[in-house]
């Protein structure tokens, strides 16, 4: 045992002495991945690649399982001239990174009829000006993920409107439990309350539209203040427990597994993240953020977090890589992702794992898609990361008022556009 390890490490060390990645024959595709090797998603991808190589013996793969810092590592690699043919990452991150820099290969034409077979809106979400540079292959929806038994215990039904949701909160509070929870230190989860409320009132692109008014007045719309106030109301009426302000990820979501809380407004990765704590037979369900009275946005408009693959423009094997990406969207490959990776996928008609069935329904019936947090992070990551998310979090957790929040947005938006000139 020890000997094998010793030998393997020695061999690996010997190989790594001065040997660099690229420079292989033309048919070897170099894939840099956001997954870590032991993860089920990596296992699924590995199997898909093996199947592909069997069918196309001339194409083999060299995979570097970089983990979540993939794109940042890619940046350094590009500077050093390391050859990478394709890479994957959260779609939002790719959009603000490689794609924004114009480093993606325009893959639209290579996808052929695969396009028509995908769930609504998936391919268009990141296609700037109709150019498809990244191809989503894993699908996460944002919904309220909840414990079905707990809802049944208080005799509740899935709330269709915000008022119904608040009523449900009241019912749960009587049993000294809480309807929802959040992570006090995860601003981008908290922001979902704001982005959903605003989208329900003004439509799914409301966030971006408001920001793109260059004198900041987009935020002066009364609907923005209303959305901010409604977000505060989740605390005031006791939807969320007061002590959740101090929950540091993953303490908040663990209270769902422990039966203190019914659910959380979050991505469809929640059941997976809680499998170890909640057990495999936990009665998971999901419903969309409810409609707001008088709003133009529908409850079927959803926010999504897609994981995409991108072929790099600089790749000498772009065509071959694009061929594989097409295969990744095929029914066979997508089924492998579901079965081995335990994730939702983008192809219409490929059922997601049972625990995610409500998410699949919500993706299938989606009337509009936007990125996580209303898509502001896709188009304007810096503003989203440095202003909107932290300022909202401050307000949401009671350190400033909804009025202050709106004022800051107006001022900072104005500053932002002024500095862009």
């Amino acid at each position: 045992m020890t000997n094998t390890i010793l030998w393997r490490s020695a061999a690996a060390a010997a190989l790594s002495f001065g040997m660099m990645a690229g420079a292989a024959n033309a048919a070897e595709l170099v894939f840099w991945s956001m997954w870590n090797e032991p993860e089920p998603q990596a296992a699924a991808l590995r199997r898909i690649m093996d199947t592909y190589t069997k069918a196309h013996p001339e194409t083999t793969f060299k995979v570097v399982w970089n983990g979540r810092q993939n794109q940042t590592k890619l940046r350094a690699a590009l500077q050093a001239g390391t050859q990478v043919d394709f890479a994957d990452q959260d779609g939002d991150q790719l959009a603000g990174g490689l794609q924004k820099e114009g480093l993606g290969y325009e893959i639209g034409a290579d996808l052929g009829d695969a396009k028509a077979a995908l769930l609504p809106g998936v391919l268009d979400l990141y296609a700037a000006g109709g150019k498809v540079e990244q191809v989503p292959y894993i699908y996460n929806t944002v919904n309220i993920w909840y414990n079905k038994d707990m809802l049944a215990e208080v005799g509740g039904t899935v709330p269709q409107t915000l008022d119904e949701l608040f009523t449900l909160c009241g019912k749960l509070k009587e049993t000294s439990k809480h309807a929802l929870v959040t992570e006090g230190n995860v601003g981008f989860y908290q922001v979902l309350f704001f982005s959903h409320l605003l989208a329900r009132a003004k439509g799914s692109d409301a966030m971006i539209k408001a920001f793109e008014v260059k004198d900041g007045s987009g935020w002066s719309d009364p609907a923005v203040l209303e959305a901010a106030k409604s977000a505060r109301k989740f605390w005031e009426v006791g939807c969320i427990a007061e002590d959740a302000r101090g929950f540091q990820y993953p303490a908040g979501q663990q209270t769902i597994a422990l039966g203190d809380t019914m659910g959380e407004l979050v991505g469809s990765w929640l059941p997976t993240e809680l499998t170890e704590s909640a057990g495999a037979d936990f009665p998971w369900g999901a419903f969309n953020f409810p409609a707001v009275a008088g709003g133009v946005g529908k409850a079927t408009d959803i926010e999504v977090g897609l994981v995409s693959v991108m072929v790099l423009k600089a790749s000498p094997n772009a065509k071959e890589a694009a061929g594989f990406v097409s295969y990744l969207l095929s029914e066979e490959a997508q089924k492998t992702l579901v079965a081995d990776g335990g994730v939702g996928v983008v192809r219409d008609g490929v059922e997601w794992p049972p625990v995610l069935s409500d998410a699949y329904a919500s993706a299938k019936n989606a009337t509009a898609l936007s990125g996580f947090g209303g898509g502001l992070g896709v188009s304007y990551p810096e503003f989203n990361a440095t202003v909107l998310t932290p300022e909202f979090s401050k307000m949401f957790l009671g350190q400033s008022t909804p009025e202050d929040f709106v004022k800051v947005l107006v001022d900072k938006t104005k500053d932002y556009w002024a500095s862009q000139q």
């Binding site: 390890i5 010793l6 393997r8 490490s9 690996a12 060390a13 790594s16 002495f17 001065g18 040997m19 660099m20 990645a21 840099w32 997954w35 870590n36 090797e37 032991p38 993860e39 089920p40 998603q41 570097v64 399982w65 970089n66 983990g67 979540r68 810092q69 590592k73 940046r75 350094a76 690699a77 500077q79 050093a80 001239g81 390391t82 993953p250 303490a251 663990q254 597994a257 422990l258 990765w269 997976t272 993240e273 809680l274 499998t275 170890e276 704590s277 909640a278 057990g279 335990g342 994730v343």
Partner: protein
Amino acid sequence: MNKFLTLRGAKRGFSYLVVGGWSAFSVFFILWIILASLKRNRDLFGKPWSIPIDPAWGNYVKTWVNNRFGDYFLNSLIVTSVSVAALLLVSVPAAYVLSRGRFAGRQALSNFFAFGMGVPIPLLFVPLFVIMTTMRLGDSLTGLSIVYVALSIPFSIYVLEGFFASLPSELESAAIIDGCSDFQVFRHVMLPLAGPGIATVAILNFVGLWNEYQLSLVLLNSPENRTLSLGIYSLITSMQYSGGDWAGLFAGVTIVMVPTILLFIILSERMISGITMGGVK
């Protein structure tokens, strides 16, 4: 006399209480982590005080085998020991010359090395990656070790200089009068005297590099080259999307922790003997 004794006793008691209490908390911390590594996730969050009656040894199996901590362990051991050894080889002589040598620009050079401590490491990520790749040392443990040595030099020299400077100069003069060459003075007189200082620097660097992950995250790609702290890092990042195995994380942490504790116990013994040896002279 009696009164004096009780007062002393009370003071003693206070000393033991403070130092003992603080130390006890460290022990509690270690025990808690080890216990956490044997729990099931549900109990970990719901009952943080509970003791795992039915220990989940599977957490270790999973971490060691599936997450390849076995391989990472060896990588970490190699990189860290080689780096520390090379670092001492390079920085002890330099520190010695900088603190006791007599040549023009000594102070300036010493300051120049010290400035290196002020450079924030993230500044160097991209340039270092490019340099290492160009030198064909990218994604290799050799390359990582070289970078480790280079970036640890300022701190090590700075601390070692202090130790050399505080050594008595009579011994040095005596040795020179006895006809020792400069090198012999260093090798046979100053080096043994500086033993405790060198041990301190070795321990601090070993521990620092053992737990280092930012540079290795930038410079290493292949899973077979990963170190333990990168393994921990990937466990942490896997919590998003696929993980949620916090007990498994603690198993990983325990695997990383145990060797450093053992090493520390062994080496701190060394430090003590070094100090007593110095005291005899």
